[in-house]
């Protein structure tokens, strides 16, 4: 006896004869991570919304915040390029993969630079820190949490870019690159929420 075979007389009603196909574990794992991360972000967003206008002292968001248009455009369009990188890898267009990955990393870095510039401006010119008031507390926590995710994503994308430049990223890795791109899309989607809550609703 080696396997548990059809010991019963029941006709097989399952897809056993056809190839037994289960979802790719990278995608499922990333989906789980995204659900857990979403829950974390929701708590921070709820705290932000709950504390809008409850600061006992200034400055207020309306006084100091400016819409980060450039950063937003860069981050959102980087999602398109990471998608293009995955599809060129599927077509075995390795130069395209490298190029699109490079553009993604560049756009992500520009976004991070705009956030850094904004924080520099707020801390040095406006005197707003995490200690100042509730707005400072919630603003730096929420935007900082998102920026941390951008940094993690950029590190992973840059590593992939280096491997791609060295010619190590091949067609068989496209599923794995797709998992990474899912993470990046998630970071972008969170930015839309953060943008709406902090810069539109909050002001």
């Amino acid at each position: 006896m080696t396997t548990i075979t059809t010991a019963s007389r029941i006709p097989i009603d399952g897809p056993i004869e056809t190839p037994w196909k289960l979802p790719y574990r990278g995608n499922v794992g990333m989906a789980c991570l995204i659900i857990a991360e979403s829950a974390i972000f929701i708590i921070f967003v709820v705290a932000y919304i709950y504390y809008i206008g409850k600061s006992l002292s200034g400055p207020t968001p309306a006084q100091v915040l400016e819409l980060p248009i450039l950063g937003t455009i860069c981050l959102l369009s980087s999602s398109i390029f990471v998608h293009l990188a995955v599809s060129s890898l599927r077509k075995e267009n390795y130069r395209g993969t490298t190029l699109h990955l490079g553009i993604t990393v560049l756009l992500g870095t520009i976004f991070l630079a705009t956030t850094a510039k904004e924080w520099y401006h707020l801390i040095h010119d406006e005197g707003l820190t995490i200690k100042t008031n509730l707005f400072g507390t919630t603003y730096y926590s929420l935007v900082g949490l998102h920026a941390t995710h951008v940094v993690v994503g950029l590190i992973m994308l840059s590593l992939t870019l280096v491997l791609s430049l060295a010619g190590r990223v091949k067609e068989e890795h496209s599923e794995k690159l797709e998992v990474l791109s899912l993470y990046w899309h998630f970071v972008d989607a969170v930015w839309i929420v953060v943008f709406l809550v902090v810069y539109v609703l909050g002001r």
Binding site: M1, T2, T3, I4, T5, T6, A7, S8, R9, I10, I12, G14, I16, W20, L22, P23, Y24, R25, V28, G29, C32, L33, I35, A36, E37, A39, I40, I42, I43, F44, A47, Y50, Y51, K54, S55, L56, I130, K131, N133, L134, G136, T137, T138, S141, L145
Partner: protein, 560 residues
């Protein structure tokens, strides 16, 4: 009845025989095998079960007689904080994750978890968190400026946790320990979901999967949405304490109620995170010892999923007295009442499974019967507390303590003990001693009822929880004394279990691969299972593959 054909095993058991001890230790420290990690989880949780139980006994000695000076108020606060934190984060979650780690791949016919290295990482992070929590004791006053053990309660309500009320670093140890345990839990939950969805053997459709993996799937999903908020809240608390942020600082406009919300958004679903695996064990053990197929498989799955969803909308029944207003209270009363419907479905299905069965009262089944009755009573007091007006009278009294210990001990721990006796032969290849098991059962059952039945009454008589002592002449003396005796009974019962496990490992009789004549895949491999579980990946055609193998004349589809 024919004997079950065994899958041909790779000729290696747990691979430890005849190797020098240093190599064995190295092997365990670096392992990524789901069975070894599961066992490490269970051993480390048992260690914390003994520690947490010891703390409980100390508390009950303090409360056994009025005006007692056995421990100081400060130490009493530390004891109930450490007892609660230990039992939830470092005993309950790890032991259930350990069982899941061990059983889920075996039951779905997989060779390992989906991400073995992540599995090892999650275990070591959780284990480190447990020792970090207790390091605050060793740190003591002054050394490493650790202050001493946390004393803010396991709920850590604001503003108790602010720098003003808890100076020193004891609260930081608590925060970090809970945060890291959360990271470990999310990692393991991710692994369990991925394993179940992506690693099932051929033919095991979701509708054919045993109920244990099903319930672990729901439980893991709940971990994502319940434990993550707690992790987020710990980040906020750390910002408050270290960076001077104001999330929970009422002096700067922050809100202490917000912490309560964030904590109980975790805290209530957490009960279901703990109780769903307990249901899972009952779902496997009750049918086997009633010699009947599980009654109402689809209803059981549906009820579990429903519990998972409804449990997300009941958290504020912990806050009826915090002043949410009538609309809020009404919603949470309603949601809390609704969750008793799927839970009731489960109880009726277990009863229907037992009904008319050939019941075998081995030790695992005895624990399951205890589980059924006690879970029912726990549900009834739960409905009492779900009514807001009643809750106002009894909030923060010993009635509440008695209620949730009825769930946590009467249901979860009983089910867990049953599971220990049931799967011990699979894990070690030896049977546990039945006589010692019965001693354990009866001592623990009597101790449990002495403790928690009598604990309801001082609550109704007005004894608040978390007080370190009380005056004479309030009618609480005798009751508290009985409760204290019950606690000692339970402690002795648990020590018998630990002794039984160690003794049976060396002296128990050989179990063979299928001592209970069971039906799920884990019983088709030798005990203990070899590395990579299955020499050849199995194919299944029904919910009870081993039944079909043993009874080809009576196939399982008749019961599906």
């Amino acid at each position: 009845m024919t004997t079950t054909p065994v899958l041909e095993a790779v000729d290696e058991t747990l691979e430890t025989q005849g190797k020098p001890p240093l190599n064995v230790i190295y092997e365990w420290l670096t392992t990524v095998d789901h069975k070894k990690i599961g066992l490490m989880y269970i051993c480390y949780a048992l260690l914390f079960l003994v520690i947490g139980g010891f703390e409980a006994v100390l508390m009950r000695i303090q409360l056994a007689i009025p005006n007692n000076h056995f421990v100081s108020p400060q130490v009493f606060n530390q004891l109930f904080t450490m007892h609660g934190t230990t039992m939830v984060f470092f005993m309950g979650m790890p032991i259930l994750f350990g069982m899941g780690n061990y059983l889920v791949p075996l039951m779905i016919g997989a060779r390992d978890m989906a991400f073995p290295r992540l599995n090892a990482f999650s275990f070591w992070v959780s284990a480190f968190a447990g020792f970090l929590l207790y390091f605050s004791y060793i740190g003591g006053s002054g050394l490493y400026a650790a202050g001493s053990a946390p004393d803010v309660g396991w709920f850590a309500y604001a503003p108790l946790t602010s720098k003003v009320f808890s100076p020193g670093h004891s609260t930081d140890y608590w925060t970090l320990a809970v945060f890291l345990s959360g990271i470990g839990s999310i990692g393991t939950a991710l692994n369990i979901v991925t394993t179940i969805l992506c690693m099932r053997c051929k033919g095991m459709k979701m509708s054919r999967m045993p109920l244990l993996p099903w319930l672990y799937l729901v439980m893991s999903g709940l971990v994502f949405v319940a434990v993550s908020p707690l992790t987020a809240a710990q980040i906020m608390l750390t910002f408050d304490r270290y960076l001077g942020a104001h999330f929970f600082d009422t002096q700067a406009g922050g809100s202490a109620i917000l912490w309560m919300h964030f904590f109980w958004i975790f805290g209530h679903p957490e009960v279901y995170v703990l109780v769903l695996p307990a249901f899972a064990f009952a779902n496997e053990i009750i049918p086997v010892f009633s010699r009947k197929a599980m009654f109402g498989y689809p209803a059981m799955v549906a009820a579990s999923v429903a519990i998972g969803f409804i449990s997300l909308s009941v958290w504020a029944h912990h806050m009826f007295t915090a002043g949410l207003g009538p609309a809020g209270n009404t919603f949470f009363v309603f949601a809390t009442m609704v969750i008793s419907v799927p839970t009731g479905i489960k109880i009726f299905n277990w009863l229907a499974t037992i009904w008319g069965g050939k019941i075998i009262f081995a030790v695992p089944m005895m624990f399951m019967v205890g589980f059924l009755f006690q879970f029912l009573i726990a549900g009834l007091t739960g409905i009492m507390l779900a009514a807001a007006p009643f809750n106002w009278q009894l909030s923060a009294s010993y009635f509440v303590v008695a209620h949730f210990h009825y769930v946590l001990v009467g249901a979860i721990v009983f089910s867990l003990f049953g599971a220990f006796y049931y799967w011990y032969p699979k894990v070690t290849g030896k049977m546990m001693d039945e006589t010692l098991g019965k001693w354990h059962f009866w001592l623990f059952l009597i101790g449990f009822h002495l403790t928690f039945d009598f604990m309801h009454i001082p609550g109704i008589l007005g004894m608040p929880r978390r007080i370190y002592t009380y005056e004479d002449g309030r009618g609480w003396n005798t009751l508290n004394f009985i409760v204290g005796i019950g606690a000692i009974f339970q402690a002795v019962g648990t020590l018998i279990l630990v002794y039984n496990m160690i003794r049976s490992y060396y002296k128990g009789k050989e179990a063979g691969h299928d001592p209970w004549d069971a039906w799920t895949l884990e019983w088709s491999v030798p005990s203990p299972p070899p590395s990579y579980n299955f020499a050849i990946e199995p194919t299944v055609n029904s919910r009870r593959p081993l039944w079909d193998l043993k009874h080809p004349e009576d196939p399982d589809t008749d019961y599906e």
